[in-house]
């Protein structure tokens, strides 16, 4: 059958001798019945899998959980935020200009994105503490902090962070004696606030009753070690195929396997620019697959590896008899 509306399939290249599909003999084919049966099969499969395996829903980590389960980590994180040495403080775009960020070869793509989500790492501590009332020790510590020079503030916080890293288990009660200014009181104040359950609320609301942006609270949480420790315990680390894994025994996102794969092998597994490099590689591979119809050699692979002869074995058998 030829088409009456002039939409016969055209050859994509001069060498493409693919005939028009509408010229071939036809056989009865009930598309509606096929879709209906497929829909029933999918509904039954989905319902069965949902009934048997359910779905994972591990509760989120609250700041209160963090403060109670890993108080030393929260104290160290607070000191790092004040010192400007935390991951987010030294991140670069889109949060600040303290680093050029990752590069893809000579391309500073991260930097070019710009600082569109400005985050002051010290503000992750100072902002919530400013909202606390009725704590004279904390009020005094904040007043001392504000009256000090920036260099002095950095020195106090850096020295305290170093002392914490040398203390047994990072225990604040076991740090070496030193001049840490108001930083220990401020860090302890943040710990107390976190234990009350009010920290994430202050960080996410930003003065708005409807807080819907967790950028600051997630940055603070991920600056600590507790979140990553919990994730690694569940095999969700970047070097544990974590980008395609899911909590519990669930399939996760297996369609991300190739993206995840590159993080497991050198040079990506040891590169400071691994994220940009993996993204670049995946973009290249995706473009190759997307435009395979136009790429000589690649587009001939299906012809050279004749899996298609299995698909159309009946057709080829009939054609050979003619």
């Amino acid at each position: 059958m030829t088409t009456a509306t002039g939409t016969k399939s055209r050859a994509s290249t001069p060498r493409d001798k693919t005939p028009d599909s509408h010229d071939f003999p036809t056989r009865s084919y009930d598309l509606v019945k096929e879709f209906t049966i497929a829909l029933v099969v999918v509904i039954v499969l989905t319902g069965g899998l949902a009934a048997v395996f359910s779905s994972p829903d591990e509760k989120s980590i609250t700041m209160s959980t963090w403060a109670n389960q890993a108080p030393n980590d929260l104290i160290a994180t607070a000191a790092a935020e004040l010192a400007g040495t935390s991951v987010s403080a030294t991140y670069g775009a889109p949060y600040n200009t303290n680093s050029d960020g990752q590069k893809l070869g000579p391309l500073s793509l991260q930097k070019w994105g710009g600082v569109r989500l400005p985050v002051d790492s010290a503000g992750l501590v100072l902002g919530p503490l400013a909202a606390v009332s009725g704590d004279s020790t904390l009020s005094s510590a904040l007043a001392t902090w504000k009256s000090a020079t920036a260099d002095q503030q950095t020195k106090w916080a850096t020295d305290y962070g170093d002392a914490l890293s040398k203390a047994p288990d990072g225990d604040p009660t076991k740090v070496a004696t030193g001049d840490y200014g108001p930083v220990p009181d401020m860090a302890t104040g943040l710990l107390r606030l976190a234990k009350t359950g009010g920290l994430e609320g202050i960080l996410t609301s930003s003065g708005n009753f409807y807080g819907g942006d967790q950028t600051q609270s997630l940055l603070l949480l991920s600056d600590g070690a507790y979140l990553e420790d919990q994730a690694r315990a569940r095999n969700l680390g970047g070097d544990q195929w974590g980008m395609m894994n899911e909590t519990g025994n669930y399939p996760g996102q297996p369609w991300m396997w190739l993206y995840t794969f590159w993080y497991q092998i050198p040079p990506f597994s040891t590169s400071d620019n691994a994220d940009a490099q993996v993204w670049g590689l995946m973009m290249l591979l995706t473009l190759l697959l997307m435009f395979v119809p136009f790429i000589p050699g690649l587009r001939s692979i299906p012809r050279l590896i004749p899996i298609h002869r299995l698909v159309w074995r009946n057709y080829y058998r009939r054609a050979a008899r003619r």
């Binding site: 005939p19 599909s21 084919y29 829909l39 829903d57 299906p302 054609a319």
Partner: protein, 220 residues
């Protein structure tokens, strides 16, 4: 209802400047007559591999319906309700099936070189559809409001920030991610699905590699 007998029959008008007529002609001409929902297929369409395209469409329907039910209950519903958890499970497993069927469909079409005969755009729209679906699923994981969302967003931000995308697509903002998940990306998946299926119906199913041209055989 009565009809005016003196009105020109469709297509017989000389009103060449009519935008309506041009649009109608364009829509009607998208697919050959009788091919939008044909009851016959070329004889070579006889393999289980052809079923996976339809299975993908069926799974997409279940994904949309289960997602719609979740939307009725709201963001927190499935965390506190056993019925909500079951609906979330339906959504999760239909997504897993959707991707499973789609990947088999994609590789089936690759090994059949189904871009031949002017079908390159069918292949490309399918690939873009696959990528858009990955984005839709990814934002779904970010919108769960649980531990997985926290960890995935904390990790994903580094990847997206490294290429400058994170400045505009903030995975740490679940409000933004939820809107991408339930509005923008489903619209993209839906539109691409329609375009892809129209292209399949427009060009028909790709013939076997090196198949003889039946029109030439008839002439011979």
């Amino acid at each position: 209802m009565t009809t005016r007998t003196d009105s020109p029959a469709p297509g017989n008008t000389n009103d060449a400047g009519s935008w309506t007529l041009r649009l109608r002609s364009r829509i009607v001409g998208l697919v050959p007559a009788g091919q939008a929902l044909p009851d016959r297929q070329p004889i070579y369409v006889a393999s289980w591999i052809y079923v996976f395209g339809v299975l993908t469409l069926a799974a997409l329907a279940v994904v949309i319906i289960s997602g719609g039910l979740l939307a009725i209950g709201g963001v927190a519903w499935w965390h506190v309700s056993s019925l909500g958890l079951f609906v979330n499970s339906l959504h999760l497993w239909s997504v897993e099936l959707f991707f499973g069927f789609m990947v088999i469909h994609l590789w089936g079409k690759f090994w059949m070189a189904s871009w031949r005969g002017g079908r390159a755009m069918t292949w490309i729209t399918g690939m873009v559809l696959f990528l858009t679906s990955i984005g839709a699923a990814f934002t779904g994981y970010l919108s769960q409001a649980n531990f997985a969302s926290q960890w995935i967003s904390a990790e994903a931000k580094d990847g997206l920030n490294s290429i400058g995308v994170g400045a505009f697509f903030n995975v740490l903002n679940p409000g933004q991610m939820l809107l991408w998940h339930v509005v923008l990306l489903p619209l993209g998946v839906g539109a691409l699905t329609v375009i892809h299926v129209v292209l399949v119906r427009r060009h028909g199913v790709a013939p076997p590699i090196d198949a003889a041209d039946p029109s030439m055989e008839k002439e011979a």
